[in-house]
């Protein structure tokens, strides 16, 4: 998949590029609004990650321009500006999602996948992880046809771990994904550990779950 990263902060753009390249995306970068406009005009991107606070123009103008030109790309707005209006305006103009900086790269990828699923729907909605079949559409997990009842948060947690399989996710990253942005200074708490414990218990009743690994001092990892 082709991604255009429109971000004037070069080091940030660079980190996003490293991450997305590792995850198998083809990345292109633009540091100014002008070059972004040109690139969008010439190339066909699946994703455009758009910073609104560009030095030479407002990112929302790029979005408007692209939408007027019937650009098919999915837009995710990235911003460190705090204006509430920006978010509303961006989504009104047809942006697919909105991420406030600082964001986790893992969250960015999860959002990109969600946008993809929402937009095209043709992606496979079920996949296997070891002996378990996960249905993202219906948010259910089965083992040999038997349903494993999970709470909403347990499912979200498992899904996030699977999405970033073979990568260690910190408790903080997991906490932020599950409870969002709002709760402060709770990262030392063991809520995530309790959820993982329950998850393991429920899954292991059907099949071994040694693939959900605890990485001491850091967090958890799903291997596949």
């Amino acid at each position: 998949m082709n991604v255009l990263i429109v971000e004037d902060e070069k080091s940030l753009s660079h980190e996003i590029e490293i991450f997305l390249t590792q995850e198998g995306y083809q990345c292109d970068v633009a540091f100014t609004g002008k070059s972004a406009s040109e690139k969008i005009y010439v190339n066909n991107y699946d994703f455009i990650l758009l910073d609104i606070g560009l030095p030479d123009m407002n990112g929302l103008d790029i979005l408007r321009e692209a939408k007027e030109a019937n650009c098919e790309s999915s837009f995710i707005i990235l911003t460190a500006r705090s204006g509430v209006e920006d978010k509303v305006a961006g989504l009104d103009m047809g942006a697919d999602d909105y991420l406030a900086k600082p964001f986790s790269l893992l969250e960015l990828q999860a959002r990109m996948q969600a946008v993809m699923r929402r937009k095209h729907g043709l992606q496979k909605n079920t996949f296997m992880i070891h002996d378990f079949e996960v249905d993202i559409q219906n948010r259910s997990i089965t083992c040999n046809g038997k349903n494993v009842p999970l709470t909403k948060k347990e499912f979200d947690l498992l899904n996030y771990l699977i999405l970033h399989k073979n990568r260690v996710l910190t408790r903080m990253q997991l906490t932020e994904h599950i409870w969002g942005d709002i709760l402060e200074d709770d990262y030392e708490s063991n809520y995530i550990d309790v959820h993982v414990k329950n998850l393991r218990k429920k899954l292991s009743a059907h099949s071994p779950v040694d693939w959900i690994e605890t990485v001491r001092g850091i967090g958890y990892r799903v291997t596949a």
Partner: protein, 444 residues
């Protein structure tokens, strides 16, 4: 007291004073004028009588020299009386005029009486000429009652006129206050078109308010710009660091001790970013960047919050009880901010609770018809001396370990005052805390 009412009262009062003064002095003046006339007439008459006597002798008037003479007309309005004097009280030719009551047959009547002593044929006589005062009294009474009635009529009519006039006069004032100040939800929506008035004071007021509001508007916009820029300048570097750390953490063959340090750094960075975001949120609320245009059902919102963090209640094995005596829909509110408020309160009730503790949520109308949301916990509680500080920013509670409650409650406080909510807290150390949110009463 309303200025309008004051003007009316003042006008009525001053009119009453003027009319009362006229009412008090006019009869005296009239009496004075009338007496003047009567006295002149009496003097003229006495001169005439004396002249007649001098020319024709007393016999002209008096038939019997020894007898005194008296005459009055049929209505006892006037009389003339000459009687011999044996003793001289005053000098001859001294005219005395005074009010006197005289008896005629069986009637006592008040008269203005002129008395003058004169000498005729070596005999002293006293001449008295009187004129009745009853007409004068009547006139006075008529004027009095006329004045009283006019007074009442004038005051009543003028009060009505004044009420209407002052209402008309004050109209631009209320228009200025309502349109410029009360209806303005946010300084940036301020309307600067002048209110139509030809009263100098009001256009001056209008102009001053416009200037003031424009200054406030500018300040607000400058502050907003600052918040936006600060937000960008502070969060972008954090963003870079966070993403870099995340990438480092994903590197293959990363030594464990380095990974630990990276995770610690991420935590520190997160704390920094949370603090900045919380401060920015408080600033944004205080800068009125949020709209209050939603209807929020408090019970539904509480349930949304519980759905979000209910798992934490379960994990801590907390018994949670809800009791809704009344329901309340909060109009003109910002749902997402209220969500943050309730979430912070309930999250605190969980966070500072003991395992197997209790949380009690109660929604009810208080006697003043205001909706109250009460969240009680059986947690660690707050020391009495700390209670007043819990809503303060960065207040440290246990100085010995340097821990602070962070910005959760200050955010709650800011959201509350943005919405006009009252928040109170009762707490007992080791017993638990109760936070009460009192919503504004519904305007009827």
């Amino acid at each position: 007291m309303k200025l309008q009412l004051k003007l009316v009262l003042y006008n009525a009062f001053s009119k009453a004073i003027i009319i009362l003064a006229i009412g008090a002095f006019l009869p005296i003046i009239i009496r004075q004028v009338v007496y003047n006339h009567i006295d002149k007439r009496l003097i003229a008459r006495s001169d005439k009588v004396l002249q007649i006597i001098r020319l024709g002798g007393l016999n002209e008037i008096m038939l019997d020299q020894d007898c005194s003479y008296g005459s009055y007309n049929i209505f006892k309005e006037e009389f003339i009386n000459i009687e011999p004097l044996h003793q001289l009280d005053s000098d001859i030719g001294t005219i005395m005029i005074e009010d006197d009551e005289r008896q005629f047959e069986d009637e006592i009547l008040k008269h203005r009486v002129l008395s003058e002593a004169f000498l005729f044929d070596n005999q002293l006589y006293n001449l008295e000429i009187g004129e009745g005062l009853s007409t004068v009294e009547q006139l006075n009474n008529t004027i009095w009652s006329f004045i009283i009635w006019t007074f009442i009529a004038v005051v009543v009519v003028s009060v009505f006129i004044d009420v209407g006039f002052s209402r008309m006069l004050m109209r631009p004032f209320y228009r200025i206050i309502n349109r410029k100040l009360r209806d303005t939800q946010h300084p940036t929506q301020f309307e600067t078109t002048p209110v139509k008035t030809n009263t100098y004071e009001f256009s001056y007021l209008d102009q001053s308010i416009n200037e003031m509001m424009n200054k406030i508007k500018d300040t607000f916009l400058v502050e907003k710009e600052f918040i936006n820029n600060a937000s960008h300048e502070l969060l972008t570097p954090i963003s870079v660091l966070q993403n870099r750390f995340e990438n480092i953490l994903a590197e293959k063959n990363l030594p464990d001790d380095v990974a630990d340090k990276i995770v610690e750094s991420l935590k520190t960075l997160h704390r920094l970013s949370k603090t900045i975001k919380a401060l920015l949120l408080i600033s944004k609320i205080e800068n009125s960047q949020f709209l209050k245009n939603e209807d929020t059902d408090v019970r539904l919102l509480t349930h949304e919050v519980l759905a979000e963090i209910g798992d934490r209640v379960v994990h801590k094995n907390i018994y949670l009880e809800e009791k809704w005596d009344d329901d309340f829909v909060f109009h003109h509110s910002n749902k997402s901010l209220l969500h943050t408020l309730i979430l912070n309160l309930i999250n605190n009730a969980i966070k500072y609770n003991k395992t197997d503790g209790k949380i009690f949520i109660n929604g009810f109308m208080n006697p003043e018809k205001k909706f109250v949301l009460k969240i009680s916990d059986t947690g660690v509680g707050i020391e009495q001396e700390d209670l007043k500080n819990i809503f303060g920013r960065f207040k440290r509670f246990r100085p010995e370990d340097g821990a602070s409650f962070g910005l959760g409650l200050p955010i709650v406080q800011t959201i509350a005052s943005f919405h006009g909510l009252e928040i109170s807290v009762e707490s007992e150390k080791n017993k638990g805390s109760t936070f009460s949110v009192v919503f504004p009463s519904i305007p009827s």
